[in-house]
Structures are given as C-alpha cells and as structure tokens.
Amino acid sequence: MSTNVKKKSPYPVIHEQECKGCSRCIIDCPRGVLVMGTALNDRGYTYVTYTGEGCTGCANCYYTCPEPSAIEVYIPRREKEEE
C-alpha cells in the first residue's frame, strides 16, 4: 500500500487525554485495528491507539465510545481519491 493510498483511507483519531481505556471501541472494531496501549495519560488511564492501517471508516468506535471527545473518525471523500 503506497503512502498516497493510505492518506486517502479512513482513519480514527484518538485524543489520548480524553480516552478512559474502557475498551468498548476495541471490541467493536470489525478490523481489529485499535489496540490498548500500556502508557498512562495525564489522568491515569491507559488509552487506545490505532495500528495505523486497515480502518474502513465504519464509525463503530465513535458511536460506542462514551466520551464525547475521545475518538473521531475521518473519511476522505471518494471524488478526491479519483482526482
């Protein structure tokens, strides 16, 4: 997979300070691309990280996450991809 294609793929953004490490998103990610880290954030929770590849932009993680600002999903538009 070229870097070009990768940039145009969907991806999650995790805000590590807002994540409480509950793992709801991990068990709900159909691609298994979210993993729990081992480091603690400033508030004392371990937080989720993205493996960097394979996200389909299904938004499961966004919807199942209880924290308003912990995780976002970005999906580049198709048209751009075709340009």
Binding site: P68, V73, I75
Partner: protein
Amino acid sequence: MVQEIENMRVYKRPESMHEVFERKGGAAPTATHYCPGCGHGVLHKLIGEAVDELGIQDRCVLISPVGCAVFAYYYFDFGNVQVAHGRAPACATGISRARDDAIVISYQGDGDLASIGLNETLQAANRGEKIAVFFVNNTVYGMTGGQMAPTTLIGEKTITCINGRTAEQAGYPLHMCEIINTLKAPVFIERISLSDSRHIKQARKAVKKALEIQRDKKGYAFIEVLAACPNNLKQDAQGAADYINEKMAKEYPVKNFRDESENAISVTRPKSDMSVEKLNEIFNTSDGTSEAVIDKDYKELQIKIAGFGGQGVLSLGIMIAKSGSAAGRFTSWYPSYGPEQRGGTANCSVIVSGDKIGSPIAYNPDILVCLNKPSLEKFAKDVKEGGVILYDSTIGDVNLPKNVKAYSIPAVEIAIEGGTQKAANTAMLGVIMKLGITRLSEKDFEDGIESGFAGKQKLIDINKKILKMGADWAEKNLL
C-alpha cells in the same frame, strides 16, 4: 455526529455538546465525570447528534435527574434544570407548558424514573405531555453505589440483594415501556440498546425520532435505553455488552412499541391568562382596590381572627384585607380551617403592610380577634407585647396575658340588635375601625364592605349599619 470538514466526512463530538466542560472544571475538563464504559456518555452523544441534525439546539431544555446524570448540564450547550429525585416529569411539564416552543428532554435513570418518580412518570405520560423522556435502564442505582433498582433482573446480584434478586422478596423487574404502552396519550415508545455499535446505530433513529416529535410539538415520547453500568456490575467492556445483549434484552425486548408520529397532531393546550386583570376578575378584587404603593412609614400589621366555622371568621378577615387594599396597602389573607365546612374551628391571618409581604401568616399578631373560647385560649399567648385582643363577651371570664390590651366586646349582641346575628363579625370590624388600631380610615372600611359583598346591596346596607353600631359602641365604652 457526521460533519463535513474540507474534503472529509468526520464523525466527532456533536456541536451541541461543549468542547470544554467549563461547568465541570477540575483537572479533566474535557472528559465526562462518568466511569469508563458508562452508558450515559454514549446516550449523551446520540442526543447531541440528533439535536445537531434537527437544528433545534436553541429550543432544547434538558432536565437532569438525581443519579449519575445529575451533572448532565456540564455537557450540553443548551438550557438545563436540575431537579429533585424523580421529579423531572413535573418540572418538564411546567417548562413545556410555560414555554410552548421549548423542546423538553427529561433524562432519568431507573431508580429515578421507575422507583421514586414512578407516579409522576405515569401521570405525565398519561397527560401526553410534550416531552421526550430518556430512561436509562442499567438495572441498578448507579450513583449511590449499586443498590437494587426496580429494573434489577431476577437473580442479579447487587449490594442490597447480595445473593441475587428474588421475586419472593422484591417482586419482578418493572417493564416501563410495556406499562407506558397501556396508556392512550403517548405518541412514541421504543426500547433501545447501547450494548454495541450495531445496536447504537439502530438506537440513533429512535433518539432522533423522539426529538423530531418534540420539534413538531406532537406530544409524549418515551425511550427506554438499555445501558451499561460496568462500575457497579463489575463488568469489562465485553462483559457489559454480553450482559445487555444476552440477559437484559431477554427480559426487556429491544423494539418499538408504538409510533403514532405520522398521525399525531401538534399538542395545543388552553391558554392560561395570568394577567392582573384576569386574576382580579377571578378573585373579584378589581372593585374598589387600587394598586398597592410602598410606604415605609406604614409598618406591617399582623391580624389573626379565630372562631368557629360559620361565625364569619374568614369573611371578617376578607373585609379587613379589602379595607387594606382599598387604602393602597399591600394585603394578604390566609385562611386555615379543619375538614368541616361548618362547625369546626377556623382562623385566618391578615397582613396589611406598607411594603411587600413576606409571609402571609400572622405568627405574632398585633391584633387578635376571637369569637369563641377555644380560639382565645389557643392564640392569646402569641399576641405581640402591647398588642390588642378583642373577644366576644359571650366567652366570659378568661385568663389573658399581661402586656396586651384586651377588650370584651358584645359583638353578637350588637349584631342581633342590628338585625342579624350573622354580622357579629362586622360589629367587631366597627370596633376595630373606631379603635384606630389598623391606621385605616373609616372610608377604607366602608369600601372594604362594599367590595367584600360585591354588588349585594342589601347585605352592604345592613353591614354598614352594624359597622357603625360597633363603632358607636366602642366610642361610648372604650374611648
């Protein structure tokens, strides 16, 4: 919610939720106060998303409950009222009716809604209030540390049923959707689940529908939300999802119970007219009264009048109050009587003041008027030092406190002489007038009688006569 940002579709925090929770403050003002994995946060995001999508943020008022969601007002960027335990439906009713355009969201837990607040929940549903209720069923009292709730499953262990709930001891889990579905008024009833994203994506539609019904003022919407309390139920993420999917959903089927939103028409309520004119009309206070004016020189006067019901105790109070308002004073009249219409004891407090009245109760009267003995014995000790007691002569000898002026008045006698025993109260009024202890003028008293008997000329005439007889008696015997 989904936003379009540059050339991206982005799922992120709804615009109607704050980015920084200023009201929460503290060391983590961008995260909720909820435990990791708590269902409340998931539902908050769905509500925020629907509010954004419907463009109704400026009309929304959230009622936050007692329970873990007590601080819901930290998170939403719209109106909020935090209420006492279980009282959200009453408060929501008030707001919805007072502000017709408001979209009122009653957010409640299972302890709040199905236990302490069950009555109000059913009454509001039955009235078809124009509110959206989000009922978070997590089978436990979350905030207080995991006690059994009405929704706790049979066999489920909580700190107040450590071996599991039994029907023998605690009855059966309460099915709120099913109960509400027996009522006629609700427009929309659905049970949703927040166990996992598949269910959450289904749930989105119902949440939005409930708010859409509010946007269109169509009436009552009830959404029961199966949600996780992983903290009290000691579950990890998988455990919580399995519990909801396998155990809770068996007891509480996830489905729509009713959707009348297509056919429902906007709720309209009869208008309440609270204008001064209307109130004057209802209470017949427009006659002979003028607007009260502030007069700091006229110190508050507390008057208590007591006797048997039927002796004219309450109407004597009204006549004094009317005299007070005829004179442009602030006045209040506050009756207190037993369950009997007649025959029991009754009393009333009248306050006449040159300034706004705090309490309408005469705890320490300047003037006490008693038409029977029990009342005199009961209230004489409360009279202010230097105050005045007027009692009917038929009461006879009594022990009266020192430091008050007490007068025995033949009020019943005067009234009989004047033509009607019923007007003993008016004879008392004449004495009060003559003694000058209310600092109201004779004209004020006459105006008081006129407005007290509004339009009944015969009664006005005879009462004015007896008023004068009372006054004459006082002049001859007391002054």
